[in-house]
């Protein structure tokens, strides 16, 4: 990773941070409704892994904390924000909302709200890739607490048995809503739980993007070369509550302060400054540029976009004009 790459990644992570913070404000202003799960603190996980992958080509799937993953895959931030605003121009035409961002043209398969649901879907994407003979891989991003669903173990077994090209990325932020991992999970190191399936499993620091990138490169090389699944556990932390309705009361201020010292943006920024590739002034300028861009382009687009029309309430329930509904095309 050269200095230019690092600077670009700093830009991307800072953009993701400011995007999510702006979502928070829009939620408070009641422009965004429903459940909103934000990503600040975990940026290096998504950006490090997808930097090592072929973003936009490899097939990515995740849970409800999905805005940043979609954007890194290539989704237009304007369309993501419009989705949060429930607009017709949104990535899911305003039908999905925050938890259901989809951008299939960039191979981002969503955005699912049921904890553990994406594990087998990811294995299914991998099965499809394998059958079609491509060299893309499937990448599944989920949280630590999701590993207590049966689907985790079922999908691991199936993907090992069938040697599927799937990378499971566990973003271990130590909590599932308000329950700390050691209160819900017998073995807190998640990579250890994978050993029983003979799948290579590694734990890495999720706050240092260079560490994530290197670990992901190794993982992806394994998966892409046809050796079957791989499990990458990234140790990380979310700064905000689980969702907007969560007060965060279950965590100590000390714990939060400790993690904020290992902020992924801060780590990369300081490294660039130390190497003489960035100045504090240039960083401030970049930050301002990003904030302005989000306001003047992204928010503006979402605000000015039209709502879906009620006449189209039933659109997308079933396929339109499928000839086989009537016995075939004749």
């Amino acid at each position: 990773m050269n200095a230019a790459d690092k600077k670009r990644l700093l830009h991307e992570m800072l953009y993701a941070r400011r995007f999510e913070e702006r979502c928070y404000e829009a939620y408070v202003e009641r422009k965004i409704g429903g459940f909103l799960h934000l990503y600040p603190g975990q940026e290096a996980c998504c950006h490090g892994v997808l930097e090592a992958a072929r973003a936009g080509e490899d097939h990515v799937i995740t849970g409800y904390r999905d805005h940043v993953h979609a954007i890194k895959c290539g989704a237009d931030p304007k369309e993501v924000m419009a989705e949060l605003y429930g607009k017709e121009t949104g990535s899911s035409k305003g039908r999905g909302g925050s938890m259901h961002i989809f951008d299939v043209k960039h191979h981002f398969y969503g955005g699912y709200a049921l904890v553990g649901g994406p594990f087998p879907l990811a294995a299914g994407l991998a099965k499809g890739i394998k059958m079609k003979g491509g060299d893309e891989i499937a990448i599944c991003f989920l949280g630590d607490a999701a590993n207590n669903q049966g689907t985790f173990h079922e999908a691991l077994n199936i993907s090992a048995l069938w040697e599927l090209p799937v990378l499971f990325v566990c973003e271990n932020n130590l909590y599932g809503i308000g329950t700390r991992i050691d209160r819900s999970t017998a073995v807190t190191d998640q990579y250890k739980r994978v050993c029983g399936y003979d799948i290579p499993a590694v734990q890495a620091d999720g706050q240092d993007i260079e560490v994530v990138f290197k670990a992901a490169q190794k993982a992806i090389k394994h998966v892409r070369s046809g050796k079957g699944p791989y499990f990458l556990e990234l140790m990380t932390y979310r700064y905000r509550g689980h969702s907007m309705s969560d007060s965060n009361a279950y965590r100590s201020k000390d714990e939060e302060a400790d993690w904020s010292k290992r902020d992924p943006i801060l780590i990369l920024k300081n490294r660039l400054i130390k190497a003489g590739d960035l100045t504090e002034a240039a960083y401030k300028k970049l930050d301002k540029k990003i904030i302005d861009e989000i306001e003047n382009e992204v928010i503006k687009f979402a605000e000015e976009s039209p709502e879906p029309v009620v006449e189209e309430l039933e659109k997308y329930v079933l396929a339109e004009n499928d000839p086989y509904v009537h016995g075939g095309p004749n």
Partner: protein, 327 residues
């Protein structure tokens, strides 16, 4: 008589039943230390300890099965599933184990578990967090399904469900936990079967359950004030079994029926009540029964579309006015 919230009524029922019987336990995600997503188990962790107020991993089918298994040997678990959308994951244990074990063991075994879970649409929670699943649960032989429309029912139904030897599913509602109502100070057990006439009227019957009882009552007021129509409102607090006799008695009196449901129409409460009316009192009808239901679509996120899917008092009024030929 105390005027308390729906969640407080549920909390009180837990507290009393756990005090009464050391084998009553409760389990679910974030119910212990955090006191429950809807506060329905608030304070119980401190009072009864972690052996009896159990925070579970996110393993719905697993912990529901654990509760059912424990009930085989006399434990009386109250299982909270955070949302009915997640109850789909526990469906195997509810459907294949709890509901069937008495029958398939020839009466040797029973599963006296209570499963509580909120359904309904809240505000823009989207397609995977807005399910109404009453129609699914009420079709399961061997499972009782009740649904409280008031704090009083929420209290009394949970009390009775804990003591009942059948598995009971209590269908609560996302939007009703903060609703207030009077609950008697003295302990009582609400019947798990039957229905209740909550407003008497002569011109037609509105059948509701849970939140749609309130839509029906509001509609009945508007109909009385603006249209001179006196609607009877029947609360179907037991969805399985449905109260055939109660449904027939009201329709035989008013000769007209509108079923108000938050769920989608197909295979739902409305279609079942219509079938019962056909079977029990068809010749008492003066008009074909009508149902007011949700649009049959996965719940959209957009606020305007979402509103368009869910019925409310106005839709009930419109349906009645049309039925009475006063449109």
């Amino acid at each position: 008589m105390a005027n308390i919230m729906y969640w407080e009524a549920i909390q009180r029922a837990h507290d009393e039943e756990m005090t009464n019987d050391p084998l009553v336990i409760c389990m679910g995600e974030d119910i212990g230390v955090a006191g429950g997503t809807y506060k329905a188990t608030k304070g119980l962790f401190d009072k009864f300890g972690p052996e009896r107020v159990i925070d579970t991993p996110i393993s719905e089918n697993g912990y529901t099965g654990v509760g059912i298994g424990a009930s085989f040997i006399g434990i009386r678990p109250i299982i909270e599933i955070m949302s009915v959308n997640f109850a789909w994951l526990a469906m195997d244990q509810i459907f294949n184990s709890a509901a069937k074990v008495r029958y398939m063991s020839g009466g040797q075994l029973e599963a006296p578990v209570v499963i509580r879970s909120p359904g309904g649409t809240a505000h823009q929670l989207g397609a995977q967090h807005s399910a109404r699943m009453e129609n699914v649960f009420m079709g399961i032989a061997g499972l009782r399904v009740v649904t409280p429309s008031t704090p009083k029912q929420a209290y009394g139904l949970l009390k009775a469900a804990v003591r009942c030897n059948d598995p009971v599913f209590i269908y609560e509602h996302e939007l009703m936990y903060n609703m207030k109502g009077d609950v008697p100070d003295a302990e009582f057990f609400h019947p798990l079967e039957g229905s209740e006439v909550v407003r008497s009227g002569k011109d037609l019957t509105l059948f509701g359950y849970n939140i749609s009882v309130h839509w029906s009552l509001q509609a009945a007021d508007i109909l009385s004030k603006n249209h001179g129509i006196e609607a009877e409102v029947v609360d179907l607090f037991s969805l399985s079994p449905l109260d055939r006799a109660g449904i027939a008695a009201s329709v035989s009196k008013t000769h007209r029926a509108v079923i108000v449901e938050e769920s989608e129409a197909p295979v739902g409460v409305g279609s079942e009540v219509m079938a019962i009316i056909n079977e029990e009192c068809f010749f008492d009808l003066d008009a074909a029964p009508v149902r007011v239901s949700s649009a049959n679509v996965p719940q959209p996120y957009n606020h305007t579309l979402e509103k368009a899917t869910i019925p409310g008092p106005d839709d009930v009024v419109n349906a009645v006015v049309k039925m009475m030929g006063k449109a």
